[in-house]
């Protein structure tokens, strides 16, 4: 069974993680918020892959918004969040066939920023000869949503997943512009 080792993550993560009763890991950031990192089973690209959706979220969006208003500079510059997320991803990618996908949170309309940030993180941390990052975007109403997935190049299902992502990308744009209302 694929599992994440808390002790391995805590050996490198600047914030100390603890196992959450709900799922994933919790950690407290310097700005006074509790965050959660969870890798949730996901079948967006098909059922044959070991895909997990990365979710990095504060427990309370209300508290997040309140603190962001009060201490925006400090929140924005908290590099320890990035390092903590990367420690979790590094541990997850130790497993050859794991695939991580993500959708940039758009609830506060900062998804463009998050998408760029994630690309930069990936470029800084990931060896391109070992990992592949696949990205796309989707316009929903007036909002552009950014999606991505990354996997090891030695993943047993590398070709199949890249083909599945490509098909997903083509299919999803057939529906554009989506006639939607956003309720997240």
């Amino acid at each position: 069974m694929t599992e994440l080792s808390l002790s391995a993550i805590n050996a490198t993560a600047p914030y100390r993680l603890r196992i959450s009763e709900l799922g994933g890991f919790d950690f407290d950031i310097d700005a006074g918020l509790t965050y959660n990192i969870a890798l949730i089973e996901d079948y967006t690209f098909g059922e044959g892959f070991e895909t997990f959706m990365l979710n990095v979220l504060p427990h309370s969006m209300e508290e997040y918004n309140r603190i962001k208003r009060d201490r925006s500079v400090k929140m924005r510059r908290d590099d320890k969040i990035r390092q903590t997320v990367m420690a979790v991803l590094e541990e997850a990618m130790r497993h050859q066939n794991i695939i991580i996908d993500y959708v940039c949170m758009s609830e506060d309309e900062k998804q463009d920023f998050r998408a760029r940030l994630f690309l930069r993180w990936f470029r800084d941390y990931a060896d391109d000869s070992k990992y592949r990052l696949l990205t796309t975007s989707l316009k929903v109403g007036d909002v552009t949503n950014y999606l991505g997935a990354f996997l090891r190049r030695d993943n047993d299902l590398y070709d199949a997943f890249c083909a599945a992502f490509d098909k997903f990308d083509k299919d999803i744009h057939k529906d554009e512009p989506w006639d939607v209302h956003v309720s997240v």
Binding site: G23, L39, L138, V140, D175, S183
Partner: protein, 50 residues
């Protein structure tokens, strides 16, 4: 993210399902949904160990 579109590709439906999972997960984090309800909705996580 919900759509009103009548015709959707499998990709669109898969994406909607993923977004619904995240919506539920956000509710759980904020205490509006219990662990039991998460389990009942079939939300599963990568296993963790000490």
């Amino acid at each position: 993210m919900n759509t009103n579109a009548n015709k959707q590709s499998n990709a669109a439906m898969a994406l909607e399902k993923a977004m619904e999972v995240r919506r539920v997960w956000m509710q759980a984090l904020s205490g509006k949904i219990s662990k039991k309800e998460l389990d009942a909705k079939g939300i599963r996580f990568m296993a963790v160990a000490e």
